[in-house]
Amino acid sequence: MTAFGTSVLIAKLAMLPVLVSSLEFLYAPQVLSDHGLMSWAIFRVRAAWMCSGITGKILDRLLSWSFVRPLLCLRIALSLAILLIPWERTMTPLLLLPLALVEWLFVLRSSYGKDGADQMSWITVITLMLMSFVPNTAVQHAGLYFLMFQVCWSYFVAGVAKAMARNWWNGTYLTSIANMKTYGHPGVGKFLMNHRTVAMTLSGGIILWECLFPILLLLPQPIPAAVLVSGILFHLSNAIFMGLNCFFLAFTALYPALMFVVCPELLSRFFSVS
């Protein structure tokens, strides 16, 4: 598969978390209202340029509660257009630039209630937009390497941060998370509470997997391919047991970039379009 084909595949896959997250906001929009937990009316006071002067006026017009639904509809329309447009016309600034602007408005609106999936989606959209400006092989390669770096860096940083906490090594934090209402799962939480050794092993495995992820990709096949499969399973389990649905979509959307670099033949076998 060519670099351009891989970029297009990523662009289409990356629209799924944008689409799902927009539909979720439309289904339960109250959180974005002026009296909600992600209120723009409150959050805008964090910086003078966001609540005063000409920038304050423009942003208030665009991000006010009354404009949220139209903005979400625009976000859905743009992500659907990128998802459904013919393959060769996907990487166009005509769609990616407005989408990046809409994404930026949502990034500005509130930092509360956001997670790693939103952050990765935002980075992906900006990267794809830059790639669409110069659709030549060198830029497509650079963009794919950059996206690969972001995935590897995210795991590595999180892994090192966990490795520095004793309660991650002994499984305490993993058990606590599994028992939370917000991110937990009653069955898994109870199981880990009753099986401390499993919790410790699983937690240590996550730390090592996250820290070693970038290094393992450099080893000979089939190790990188196995690491990528384990990554997909890792995100899938996070979606099932923690409810992090967009996290799964946002991160696995970038796996074609990893495949393009470490196992291109596998990418071509899975996705025959080039």
């Binding site: 799902v20 972001q150 941060a161």
Partner: protein
Amino acid sequence: MAEYIVITIFICWGLTCVLTHVPHVGRWIRKCDLFVLIPEWRFFAPRAGEHDFHLLYRDRNTNGEVSNWHEVQAGGSRRWWNFAWNPHKRANKALFDLSVELSSIIVNQTDGIQLSLPYLSLLTVVSAEQRVVRTGQTQFMILMLKKNPTETTSQILFISDPHDLC
């Protein structure tokens, strides 16, 4: 020319992501990051949240009578289909973020708490809750719950001052 510009942007962006982890430089970079392009990958590390946060409020009417504590239903409970569709995760996460930020403000500063974003946000949320009578005052509380092998423990993180309901 354009290709060199885009490739340079990618290189600088990547380097900046790495430099963010240098203590003093990182703080400065985050301050300048208007577009929020520099990610903060933590994934529950180094300290994972161990508690669920609950937002409660109570009112005092004009006669001085104080109501019971009522919980604000921020998000819904977990359902089996949340692996694909989880519309209430934002509200749960927002309450989590606001509570964590408020707790760090409580630890690090003694005054100005009432003007902080989490305090104002939470007060706005409880003030907007449906009531039979909207007179008197309201105050909110953040309660932390943690499930242990034998019991569920609760701890009060914060109780606000009473504020007039308008």
